[in-house]
């Protein structure tokens, strides 16, 4: 049907040389495919992510973004193709597997426990315990480290004892990101981090993402269908269409208009191919 998608438009020339000069590749996806019954959702995804890079992933509903994210986060395995983390091939059997390789997914509203205080959220499932058989929490230590860490990455919450329910959407998102990076995640998958956020809230997250990328070399893949958000957040944008990456561009080399144009022309040729086939 739509197998005749043109070659990725942005991969040639300038962009490619730019990339080869950037730091080491932390995540590489090679020819990953995934089908659900007769429906093939991913048709050979190739993608690279470099250390400290923020990569945006756009695409319409059904383009396969969430399927790809599920594979990367260890939620479900791919049918074929390879995943390489820091040059070594990995096979994720579970979310914990992926986390063990430093890959964490941050879901916007799902991440935090509203009834737990900030510091317990930050340490959820990685609690600091007192010595002994009963797993007694060392709350003092956890509070202290929480303050310290949030300070380090410039996240301001009024009080680490406040329940997550009392935080704003942006603060909650920031805490969720902080939690993932605190546990040594080096690759973050963020799902629509700016959705439903006001300007001030967005600023908080944009600064946090940029800061983590540049100061802590955290690499991120941000999934969003809002182009404006992606241009604010990302170094590079990959566009997914029909189960493939069709466009790979550095944000500084392109613009909203150019990218949209590229996408539309891709769609047009997809449609034509489909028409020809039928």
């Amino acid at each position: 049907m739509i197998d005749d998608i043109p070659e990725p438009a942005g991969l040639a020339g300038e962009t490619a040389t730019e990339l080869s000069r950037s730091p080491e590749v932390v995540l590489e996806v090679q020819g990953v495919t995934k089908s659900f019954g007769p429906l093939s959702v991913l048709r050979g995804i190739d993608l690279t992510l470099r250390s400290g890079e923020v990569l945006g992933l756009v695409g319409d509903n059904g383009a396969g973004k969430s399927t790809l994210v599920k594979i990367l986060s260890g939620y479900s395995p791919q049918d074929s193709g390879r995943l390489l983390v820091k040059g070594k091939e990995v096979h994720f059997k579970s979310v914990e597997d992926a986390a063990a390789h430093g890959i964490e997914t941050v879901y916007q509203d799902l991440a935090l426990i509203p009834q737990l205080p900030v510091f317990e959220n930050l340490f959820l499932n990685h609690e600091i315990l007192h010595f002994g058989p009963f797993h007694v929490l060392n709350k003092r230590k956890m509070r202290e480290l929480t303050r310290q860490y949030l300070d380090d990455i410039n996240v301001n919450v009024p009080n680490v004892n406040a329940e997550a329910a009392q935080l704003s959407g942006g603060q909650r998102q920031a805490i969720a990101v902080a939690r993932a990076t605190r546990t040594n995640a080096s690759i973050l998958l963020l799902d629509e981090p700016l959705a439903a956020m006001g300007a001030r809230e967005s600023r908080l997250i944009i600064d946090l993402v940029r800061g983590l990328a540049s100061h802590r070399s955290v690499s991120m893949i941000i999934i969003d269908h809002n182009f404006a958000h992606l241009f604010e957040l990302c170094d590079r944008v990959n566009v997914m269409q029909g189960g493939r990456i069709t466009i790979d561009q550095l944000t500084k080399d392109t613009s909203l208009e150019k990218l949209t144009e590229l996408m539309v022309s891709n769609y047009r040729s997809q449609l034509q191919a489909a028409v020809v086939e039928s």
Partner: protein, 363 residues
């Protein structure tokens, strides 16, 4: 609405207060605010106030109330409800409910009794009864987690099954449980019963002390241990907790097991205390009071929030109400009307305090 309550200066001084209160002397306003914040943040405030109110009312109305008899009778009512409520809080925090706990409370002494009849030593009979209680909790947990049956339905079903089993195996005849082979309610201390017997229920205060001890332990577990965090996380945001790696299924099953175990344990104490086993006594009676006690105490049925101390105080409240009405000579029939009204009052006050607390904290 939230921010209009406090001035900017005030909110600044209190920004980090609950944690930093000890470090630097907070200004006067901050301290007062801090104490107020602390006060309204305690979910147990409502039941404590109501309990104290009831206590004073009954005391004034009938001086008999403050005698050992009155208190004992209050403790007698509060004991079983409290025991069940404490275990139930764990399950309620998950956003689940265990309706079979009351029946486990009644079943476990029967198991002990039957085994004792078969010649098993009392100690082992008790152990076996507790193992059966744990087994029931395990089944409840597995049904909820793996068969995806809502716990309200699943545990209601277990409740009926257990009730039926008790009726069948007891042949619908009353029995006298083991060390309480003495007439019930003899004296404060029955000297011919050994220490073991005294501890597991013969001594009139032993049941309520068991419940207090259990309440303290469970409160500690819920607020100070990793397991407690996991319970709250599972109840507060199931998906989020699972994403963070919390073994939510295991946590749920553990809570059902603990709830059932505690019910079975105190069930034995209670049976020994009263010295009779009545197969026709349905467990749902007990469990509904226990859930009532939890709710009065500030535990949300929606999960994520719960206080063991509150549940215990809720049980005391019901106990005092029941005993007090008895003592001042009001018909037991009226009790149900009062308990209903108190529940509505407590829930209203809880909601009001919640909003107040949220406002104070976000100010």
């Amino acid at each position: 609405m939230a921010t209009s309550v406090t001035s900017p200066a005030e909110s600044q001084s209190s920004a980090g207060l609950p944690s930093s209160a000890g470090e630097a002397g907070p200004p006067q306003v901050g301290l007062r605010r801090y104490l107020w914040q602390l006060f309204v943040a305690q979910r147990e405030v409502t039941p404590v106030l109501i309990t104290i109110g009831l206590f004073i009312f009954f005391w004034i109305d009938s001086p008999n109330f403050l005698t050992s008899l009155g208190l004992n009778s209050a403790a007698g009512f509060a004991g079983p409800y409290g025991a069940l409520a404490v275990g139930e809080v764990l399950v309620l925090v998950l956003g689940e409910i265990d309706l079979s706990a009351g029946q486990v409370f009644l079943l476990s002494p029967w198991i002990m009794y039957w085994l004792w009849q078969l010649g098993v030593p009392v100690g082992w009979a008790i152990v076996c009864a507790l193992v059966v209680s744990i087994g029931v909790g395990l089944i409840n947990g597995l049904i909820t987690v793996f068969l995806n049956v809502p716990s309200f339905v699943g545990t209601l079903a277990t409740n009926f099954v257990l009730f039926g089993l008790v009726l069948i195996f007891s042949d619908d005849t009353e029995a006298t449980p083991v060390p309480g082979a003495i007439p019930p309610q003899t004296t404060a201390v029955a000297p011919h019963v050994g220490l073991f017997g005294q501890i597991i229920g013969v001594w009139e205060w032993s049941e309520i002390l068991w419940v207090i001890a259990i309440a303290i332990v469970i409160q500690f577990v819920l607020t100070r241990t990793r397991f407690g965090v996991r319970v709250i996380a599972t109840g507060g945001n199931l998906l989020g907790a699972a994403e963070a790696g919390v073994p939510v299924r295991r946590v749920k099953i553990m809570c059902f097991v603990l709830c059932s175990f505690l019910s079975g344990l105190v069930g034995i104490v209670d049976a020994v205390k009263y010295g009779t086993l009545d197969p026709g006594n349905p467990g749902v009676n007990y469990i509904l009071y226990a859930v009532g006690a939890c709710v009065i105490g500030g535990t949300a049925l929606t999960g994520g929030r719960g206080t063991v101390i509150g549940a215990f105080i809720g049980a005391i409240l019901i106990g005092i109400l029941e005993a007090g009405l008895n003592i001042i000579g009001i018909s037991t029939n009226d009790f149900f009307v009062y308990i209903g009204l108190v529940m509505i009052l407590a829930m209203t006050l809880n909601g009001w305090l919640d909003r107040l607390a949220a406002r104070t904290r976000s100010g």
